[in-house]
Symmetry: none
Subunit: 257 residues, 2 copies
């Protein structure tokens, strides 16, 4: 039985998938597995690298999917996905007709964005590229906040964001966070991101924090918001009681779903 050689383009696709599956492969293996010369493997890898699909290393190639990004955004697989969705569902009920809302970055807020694809009555302002993509096809009127894209969070941050945010006013801002504690408030890893968050909260009538209990008590590098600026926190049942008490004492509405 003579197996007809694969088409070059077809083979390159297969090669890419093969590499994605294994993570790393040596040229020797690819050459044997696909029954092509090492020169051809090299040329294919070169093409795949140009397309940004893989990264070539001495002796072979690596799959090029930033594990960090995957973990951060590998939607359904992430831990606490259920909690996050319930939190997002609760958040949605708080959006009234023809309101203008702000959507921050983070996986919980992204869940909220997904729930808004049929809300054509509202206006969404966001600095989250992922949220924007979710809502780009149909749904709310969508306003993107410009600025430099921060790769890790896939949000626009920095001084450019000011130009637009300073000119708007939203009814409700739905914010994510890395850490939530008392009395530090909300904290995040990147100062630019923190700055943008504070700015948004200052332009919003109400600030609603979406934070699963995993964030409770955590403090990371940069402060992104004062306790006083938060109106509502939506979290899950596992949120520590002592923290809940402290926040309530501050006049914050704390919803546990």
């Amino acid at each position: 039985m003579i197996k007809p050689k694969e088409l070059a383009a077809e083979r390159q696709k297969s090669l890419g998938e093969y590499i994605r599956d294994r993570g790393v492969v040596r040229i020797e293996d690819l050459s044997r597995e696909f029954d092509i010369s090492s020169a051809t493997v090299r040329r294919d890898l070169e093409i795949l690298e140009e397309q940004g699909r893989i990264r070539r290393v001495h002796g072979g190639a690596m799959a090029l999917e930033s594990r960090l990004e995957e973990q951060m955004f590998d939607d359904k697989a992430s831990i606490a996905f259920r909690e996050k969705r319930r939190i997002a569902e609760k958040a949605m009920t708080m959006i009234c007709n023809s309101e203008t809302v702000y959507l921050d970055g983070g996986s919980t807020v992204l869940e909220l964005a997904r729930l808004l694809v049929n809300r054509t009555d509202i206006t969404v302002v966001t600095n989250s590229l992922r949220a924007a993509v979710e809502l780009s096809g149909r749904g709310p009127r969508l306003i993107l906040v410009g600025g430099e894209l921060r790769r890790l969070s896939q949000t626009t941050v920095g001084s450019w964001t000011r130009c637009l945010i300073e000119q708007i006013h939203v009814d409700k801002a739905f914010m994510g966070t890395m850490g939530l504690s008392f009395p530090e408030g909300t904290t995040t890893t990147d100062p630019n991101e923190a700055y943008t968050k504070e700015l948004v909260m200052s332009r919003s009538a109400k600030t609603i924090l979406l934070a699963d209990s995993g964030k409770a008590g955590k403090v990371v590098f940069a402060k992104s918001g004062d306790i006083e600026n938060i109106h509502t926190i939506i979290t899950d049942k596992k949120f520590p009681a002592h923290l809940a008490k402290l926040f309530k004492k501050q006049g914050i509405t704390l919803e546990q779903v």
Copy 2:
């Protein structure tokens, strides 16, 4: 079993379906299966590719990945793909080290974006959501222009875009267009989009227009740029000679690839 010879158009339809079913086919197989010469197969494939129904590759043809997704945005990316990619490749050679470039919307410019995934030395400013997504993983420093998202083009437009664009200055702006004619210049369907385009061109040292020959002589609703503001036009060989002459007389560099 001898089939009565099909009509050309009919056969092309069958060919298209055959390719969609298999995903990938080589010309040899199509020639045998449909009992036509390889020359005819090639001609048919050329037509099918022009219509954006398949993608031709060396040795055969491939079905397009996700037809549904593409059509969602009224995507013209797959028609005249070859011309568009060649134009984009030419455009890429014009981007020098550590430059800052602007990427407009449109399928040709989107092709250019795809070629920039490994250019970590440059900075890209764009109002195109799709270009942003292409470059969001890795590659150039990426700055998004904020504003209201126009669904059809997937670009941000309108007065919000001003806040950021007015504060920047780019080395080269790579612009798309719906129509290109003389003496009208570039035209597009949406006035907001036209406004944003003009603004960008005023903030760029050089404006490079990426326009396949299908745009030549077309005039649509809103004027998006004067002839005088264009420095270079990159188009394909089929660009009408009389228009080419006129543009060159205006001092515009016209590259036909």
